[in-house]
Symmetry: C3
Subunit: 408 residues, 3 copies
């Protein structure tokens, strides 16, 4: 019997994901890498006196804000008898378990055990597992890694020195997926998409029409550069007036994406940044932070014909006008890397993957991954991404880092 | 690198349940122990000519009542070709499979095979797997253990000698969980709660207000006693008139809970008893049996402000006013015993667990577990629990068993 | 301790299915056998320019029809970066992935890679896994086995030589399950039911009333015959006029069922045929094809009292009036063959099972299973089933194959 090879599905072997890209649980290489960084876990207004169940990096947690205003983030299972602090009562000093009344401070110390003699002679020997949190421009960030590796909380130059009279910083939910803030797929599928400029011309233009600015339809000159802490993609477009539109997008280890404003309305450094939050291995949320003039509304939901949003589309319309949500979740809960056939246009994606995996090697060698700092003086980080107009007379030193990055 | 130990969640290892407390399936030690007792599996009115699917101890069963009035309990899968008797037709003598018409008596004997020659020359060699049932005051009880170990069906003194003129016995659904009759958690989580008097002062009073009688807010003197067949907890409260309110709660192996009437309206032996039915490892139903004057309504659903029941509460209200349902299901489908930190106030819970596990040792040694009897003369059992007023002149011998129990 | 054997459920061991009857996945013996035949996978009108997700033999596929009219059936995961072609754009020549625009022909060849240099210099080295399809009288059939074993597409004599003026052929959904076209159970449970004539007298008559033609209530003389490619059952009923109603039903390897018209309105060869499609191991669809006069409506949904359909019945009515759906799904997602007790009336079922499993032996021996042909001259197959009136003067040679079949 001669086997005929005509590429049909018979005999197709299902592929597997690359675990080093997609794992998020504690104890896995990638999960431990993710735990060396601060992650946004909720909007500030979601931390209230009513405890809230959240899931981060595959761990179920409870978030609350004590009556004196401090957010707290804890494992939900009370260390005493195991009921959930989701039903706990938030007080001035912390959260009290509803079952037998143990009271825990934000750092997990047990402050009261009302059913025990002397309200708990040994209460100092109990501690509710907790995580440190920081609030930053409307988001609650948590650090879920080892205490001795806790980095300083990073801030970003594009959000510093806010003119509170005229500017504000807002959190936008629908930034990444064109509608939903959450998508039922692994975080890396959305993360690497930010370093995939080619899909814009197909998905957002040729297939689904002008989802972004029509000016971006001109096919640009595309290049990728590696930096110490991430990857940038540059797109150069010659404009009719002889200048060049120089567009820089960046992706930073582990989950940060910085893109020029999609609408080209802001020249210079971008006004936004977003984080892919791995809720667990198969669910992702994206938080986007945008700095804007107070008198301008934040970027709204993308609009389809007749002023309808993604949420208004029928299933057929989602098929006819797919976007980021459809193509990213369409790879399945976790994509199967061994089935892929990467091509030259996937070069940015390849670099992002390689750089992420290099951090696993660093950690295996006992080094810290890139981008973490332990000195408060290093807290503010400088962003590169933006839209820049470059003419013959432009002082190129004002365009951040373009020349200093080596092409990979 | 020095590890900093500050109790944070990083490095927390998820615990495990104690299988000897939580398993219910046949073949497991605890599942075999449970199968040595009669369990309530349905209300009598649920056994009708319309077959009903029920699940008990992890086993799927079908319950019906033949047209002559006898309840039958069987494995649903017909022993012939495997369709379910849930679609069977109930007749005078039993239940007939709808597919090929085999008719089974309540004890599983095959009475007819209409498609076979002579309506089944060999029908005596087939038997549909069945279980014995007993009806008792409105509940159908089943014995699912080995035939040779079938105990006499236990009755209880508090339900004997009913004055049918003035009294009746009713089954109440919402007794244990403050609303639902079923909870999605292991049965032991609700069972041991009955021997945890301390939670009443926190959960039902301090956290969620006066869920029970305000008089019970006086912090009593609490003690625990072991008996042959269970555990009792006594609460003594000095009353203003110089007498003592002596309150006795008991828990019996395996699933029985007897508490004083919560409202103190009945002095002396209690009027109620309840059984935790392990539907399966992660679902539990509680049946409560209450004896009461005919002219008094049975205890209704607990009432929240504005005459609303548990079912009317919003999610936020469940969080603000948690009760037994929330704290017991809040431990998860099966609690993780290795994560617990039992304290002095958990002494009753510890005794209940220890005594249950001692039965597993007895069975491993070839002995019968406590509380089963094989002689009909031993069928009626005496209950201890109740509210008793003890004064200087009280004949303490009238208070059942208090002194006779050794403190564990 | 003496064990009492009274057939009770205690100690009952759960059975297992026979994998050789129920497996459908590629790589399993039965799954490979099924893959040697053409299967109906959709109605023709379901193949459109809007891609459709379907599941066949446990495999997820996407079906579409190119703008020039050719149906295509492919694995949904694009071979490039893994997003699903369910969101693809159907064009003249095939389907284009929405993410980076790779275009695939119906036979999987890659025709365009717009983001690659020269639109894909190496595009010939990529192929999207595909399956061949054939359209036949309103159904799309697919062959999912090895290329070198692809049989000619079988046609059937009862659907040949259609008089397009007066006749048409229609596809009926509710044929097998009395309402739904799909049932959540293994395909073999519905398939073997077609060779189980006895259940008709119990289920459809004694239990649930006259679901079919009242004339069929006369208990006939039943016999089974094996042929090369399947099994037939004959039912002979003596009619009052001295003739015999000779009814022939057949089942063919692997999934074909041919029954006489249930209503006896058509004498001679039957006008219908149906296929059990294993969607996956626990879900089955039945497609029925019926040839009929144009001026007669196709067989409608079975009607219950008051002109209600299966879908209108309450749960209690489904219990009181069970039919094929209830008894077949009532065996569970996959029946447990080792728990069965087959009897003399199950002889047809036994033969169907044995013959199916004999094909696994043939394949293990390197032979082709029965009923596949590789020569176009053998494409048209002759059907046996029908209702025949046999009188003393009947030329029995006009009744197809009855005598030529040996009783098994």
């Amino acid at each position: 019997m001669t086997t005929i090879e005509d590429g049909r599905g018979y005999g197709h072997q299902a592929g597997t994901p690359d675990p080093d890209l997609v794992e998020v649980d504690a104890g896995t290489p990638a999960g431990e890498l993710l735990r060396r960084y601060w992650h946004p876990v909720a909007r500030s207004e979601e931390a209230t006196s009513l405890p809230r169940s959240i899931r981060v990096l595959g761990d179920d947690l409870v978030l609350y804000r004590s009556l004196t205003g401090t957010p707290g983030l804890m494992l939900p299972r009370c260390c005493h008898r195991g009921t959930t602090l989701y039903y706990g009562r938030v007080e001035d000093d912390g959260i009290r378990c509803p079952y037998h009344g143990w009271l825990f401070a934000e750092d997990g110390r047990c402050l009261d055990q009302p059913c025990e003699p002397d309200r708990g002679r040994n209460k100092d020997s109990y501690r509710q597992p907790w995580y440190p949190v920081v609030e930053y421009h409307g988001l609650v960030f948590a650090y879920m890694g080892p205490a001795e590796k806790q980095p300083v909380f990073p801030r970003y130059d594009i959000f510093e020195d806010l003119d509170e009279e005229t500017e504000d910083i807002v959190i936008i939910d629908h930034f990444a997926f064109g509608g939903p803030s959450d998508a039922p797929c692994n975080w890396f599928q959305t993360h690497e998409n930010a370093m995939d400029p080619y899909h814009v011309f197909i998905l957002h233009n040729a297939i689904s029409g002008h989802q972004f600015d029509p000016k971006l339809e001109i096919w640009p000159s595309i290049a990728f550069q590696r930096s110490e802490i991430g990857v940038t993609a540059t797109q150069d477009r010659d404009l009719p007036d002889g200048t060049t539109l120089h567009r820089v997008t960046e992706v930073r280890v582990p989950t940060l994406r910085v893109i020029p404003t999609p609408t080209l309305s802001v020249l210079g450094k971008t006004n936004n940044m977003s984080w892919a939050l791995p809720i667990d291995a198969t669910n992702t949320r994206v938080y986007a932070m945008v700095r804007k003039p107070k008198d301008r509304p934040p970027q709204g939901l993308p609009v389809y014909d007749g002023n309808r949003s993604w949420f208004d589309l029928t299933e057929e319309e989602h098929q006819r006008f797919p976007g980021d949500y459809e193509t990213q979740t369409g790879q399945g809960p976790i994509t199967l890397h061994t089935e892929e056939h990467l091509s030259s246009s996937d070069r940015g994606v390849s670099i992002v993957r390689r750089q992420f995996k290099e951090q696993l090697v660093r950690m295996a060698d006992g080094l810290d991954p890139v981008g973490v700092h332990f000195d408060e003086a290093d807290a503010v980080q400088s962003v590169i991404a933006g839209n820049y107009i470059v003419g013959p007379d432009t002082d190129r030193s004002t365009i951040p880092l373009i020349e200093s990055l080596d092409d990979d």
